[in-house]
Amino acid sequence: MSMMHASHLGGTPSTAHIMRWVIAAMLPGLGMMTLYFGLGVLSNVLIAALLAVAAEAFILRLRRRPVWPTLNDASALLTGVLLGASLPPASPWWLIGVGVIAAVVVAKQLYGGLGHNPFNPAMVGYALLLVSFPTQMTLWAPPQAIWSDTLWPQILGTVPMTTLDALSGATPLDAFQHKGEAVLASEFWASSPLPEGTLAAWRNIALAWLIGGLVLIVKRLISWHIPVAMLGSMLLLSALFYASDTSHFASPLFHLVTGATLFGAFFIATDPVSSATSRRGKLFYGAGIGVLIILIRHLGGYPDAVAFAVLLMNLCVPLLDTVSVPRPVGQSTAHSGTKRSAP
């Protein structure tokens, strides 16, 4: 006998609806980035989104899966937008293309498509690019006017490396990371190491991401567990570092507003597919990402660490899912861990 399927009572968002809302919630952040770093931000996002959809359609056809229903869930589009937003403004098309293929084709579809990928696709693409093309990936231009004459040549990849170097500046995290052991934090800040307005730009962008993220939480499209655990553990750990040696470590606030912290907390770490599933698991997962970000920023070689922290925690998800099983109502104990009752 068939039974009712409660989904048709309506009132709950579909997967496609969630994906579209996440993209919509990125608009404030993307807008703010464009305002400070020029149209290169939008070109990144557009190219990445187009390539992502094309790559998804292509691989779906190869896998002999229905193309339109799958494209309609907007998950590939979202992956493209996320990757585009992570790249340095006005990245060349081929760089974006490599990242997109790594994300959509390898990290997502070769693992079985939506719902089956163990790693966050956008972050796989990003990490691959960061490791393979470190020069291009660290060329963040300082805040600039919206329109730049070099936008087209940059996208086409025809600008020589030396010119690009001259165009780019350092992100706050970059600068602080490379200030050198001998320089005290106070001396570093006194030397005005960053172009005028850089910190304010990053702060405002972070606030814009925060607004978009809060919208998602208020609309219950993402749960609060991962962002809160991630930001909380970051603040706590960076505060510990800061308290232990204020002259060498940056303040918790600095970590919060620079780099991809807030973007990562609300839009990257919350990817449902590659994160832990239970509420308790999500708290562990988010906290793990926060801890890893601070550890890598302080002790590792990379100035920002969101991508690596997320990917490393993706690895831990199967474990988190096994140890965070809740106690069912009426059962005396939770079934956590890997032990199994005798067959």
Binding site: M3, H5, P272, V325, Q331
Partner: protein, 553 residues
């Protein structure tokens, strides 16, 4: 989540206003009724009338078969025109002559008489489960019951049958609760009702003071949240007790009853009327006059909907029960049964077909709404992979099939359907295993019996041989038996004795725990052990005879 609340839950659109505005009405008397023999949990009832018999409203037409079963009564007066394997069909004469049992006073009558009256009246849980009420009330023999919960939460969307029953018959419901409380020995009665039924609450308040004897009655209004009407969820909310996994509310001293059942219990005792009609919510956008009606059991659903203004063109499907846990009807010819609480004649817009299933994105929405605090998504994967060990480890059988997970799933995965079929498959497998186990025991018994017969035959022959020729030389077929061999046979005999004692103990313990259950396998095992003991004794006797024979000069 507060301490005395159940986890999870959802807030689906209620759509109760469609049927709770109209007064409680009486549906027209049907011309023909088809009374299913199985309207309850357990075995189908056995017909006790013949084709052509004249029956009155209330005449028993089928008797319960075994403990878990219930009587069925004619719901209209007329003639039995057909008896099939599943139904008794009665052609009505339009007169509705009633036959009733002698009225009883529940306050003074002996409990056994009351219980047999509930049994006689064919009363089952009218909330949907259909468990025979006399059995449920009898549970106090094994469990100390302190609280009777009146489950008036009615948390499913659309359904308002209990709401209207309470508005019109609050006094009868509470008196019925007193009756059941007396039967099960409960000192407290708690009425749990959701806050979306203010009229019913008022009606209850009005009669509460009068009916607070002998058990104390308390009214608890709870937040409207699905599935607060689930037995376990309601008990958690009202009493802050957890029903143990695999157990019953009786295990923690609670019995739950639906208002309709309580009222029917009172009617069976006070008025002597068996269950021949019930309140049914007829609702949905495809009918013109939605509302709650007293409907005779056995009325065809098609004619019933016809009478309340079914608009055939707008009808998309008919659902029995609520939209969360109900079942879509495949044929409108089906009759109303004792457990039919709601019929939704839905248009395509109000209950559209479920969207195509998309891949699970592991969002965890299902987990956060699960009132049993399971991991629905893990269960979904294990159910599809038929990984029964993992399903067991994730407590599949604690799932109450409320459908909250399916409701919130953004990928429209029919989760509960998966769980139901997995449960069915596992139950089936358990039965198969039990059968195989049974066959194994039978085989072992046969082997033991053959061995015993063989041993006894040999022993007899040896004894005969020893008697016949005590002086003859023992070389023919008596092997040389050293003393050590005799000792090992004696050990074997002692071990066999111990095995018999152990089997007896196991059987006695099982019988004490569950006297109603048959323990065929344990009995077979005991018989096998006894056969083994006899065989060991025969072998020992044979060996003794042989050694005497050999030692003889």
């Amino acid at each position: 989540m507060r301490a005395n609340d159940f986890p999870g839950g959802i807030y689906p659109p209620e759509r109760k206003e469609r049927s709770n505005r109209a007064p409680l009405r009486i549906a027209p008397l049907p011309n023909v009724v088809a009374l299913p023999l199985s309207q309850h949990t357990g075995k189908a009832a056995l017909p006790c009338v013949n084709v052509g018999d004249a029956v009155d409203t209330g005449t028993p037409v089928a008797r319960r078969d075994g403990m878990v079963s219930a009587n069925v009564h004619a719901s209209i007066s007329g003639t039995v025109i057909e008896i099939t394997d599943s139904d008794i069909v009665i052609q009505g004469d339009g007169e509705d002559r009633r036959i009733t049992l002698p009225p009883l006073d529940w306050r003074t009558t002996h409990c056994d008489a009351l219980l047999s009256r509930l049994d006689e009246a064919g009363l089952v849980g009218l909330g949907g489960a259909g468990f025979p009420t006399y059995l449920k009330a009898n549970v106090s023999q094994q469990h100390a019951i302190d609280t009777l919960v009146v489950n008036a939460a009615e948390c499913e969307p659309y359904i308002t049958a209990d709401d209207l029953t309470l508005r019109y018959h609050a006094a009868d419901v509470l008196e019925g609760a007193q009756l059941l409380a007396r039967l099960c020995g409960a000192a407290h009665i708690i009425v749990g009702i959701e806050d979306n039924k203010p009229e019913a609450c008022q009606a209850l308040q009005a009669v509460l003071a009068d009916l607070g004897r002998p058990a104390k009655v308390a009214l608890k209004v709870i937040e409207t949240r699905y599935p607060s009407g689930g037995e376990r969820q309601l008990i958690k909310k009202l009493l802050n007790r957890d029903v143990p996994s695999g157990g019953l509310p009786a295990d923690i001293g609670v019995l739950c009853h639906n208002p309709g059942t309580l009222m029917a219990a009172l009617q069976a005792v006070r008025d002597g009327t068996p269950v021949v009609e019930r309140v049914v919510t007829l609702t949905g956008d495809a009918i013109a006059h939605p509302g709650n009606y007293w409907v005779r059991v056995g009325t065809s659903i098609a004619s019933l909907l016809e009478q309340v203004g079914l608009v055939q063109e707008r009808l998309h499907r008919v659902v029995v029960g609520g939209p969360m846990m109900g079942t879509p009807l495949t044929s409108l010819a089906a009759p109303v049964t004792k457990t039919t609480n709601c019929l939704i004649a839905a248009t395509e817009e109000e209950l559209p077909p479920a969207p195509a299933e998309a891949p699970c994105i592991r969002c965890g929405a299902c987990e956060s709404v699960c009132p049993a605090q399971l991991l629905p998504q893990q269960l979904h994967w294990y159910a599809r992979a038929q990984n029964d060990t993992a399903l067991d480890a994730h407590h599949l059988f604690d799932c109450i099939e409320c459908g909250a997970c399916s409701y919130v799933c953004p990928s429209a995965i029919p989760l509960v359907q998966d769980y139901r079929s997995a449960k069915q498959r596992i139950r089936h497998k358990r039965i198969e295993t039990a059968k195989a186990e049974h066959a194994k025991h039978r085989f072992e018994f046969r082997q033991a019996r053959l061995a015993r017969e063989e041993a006894e035959k040999k022993a007899r022959r040896q004894a005969r041989l020893a008697q016949q020729s005590p002086s003859a030389n023992g070389t023919m077929d008596s092997p040389s038996l050293p003393v050590a061999d005799l000792r090992s046979l004696r050990i074997a005999q002692t071990a066999a004795k111990a095995a018999v004692r152990k089997a007896e103990k196991v059987l006695a313990r099982a019988a004490a725990e569950d006297p109603q259950q048959r323990h065929d396998d344990l009995e077979t095992q005991l018989a096998t052990a006894q056969e083994n003991l006899k065989a060991a004794e025969a072998r020992l006797a044979e060996a003794r005879a042989a050694s005497e024979y050999k030692e003889a000069p």
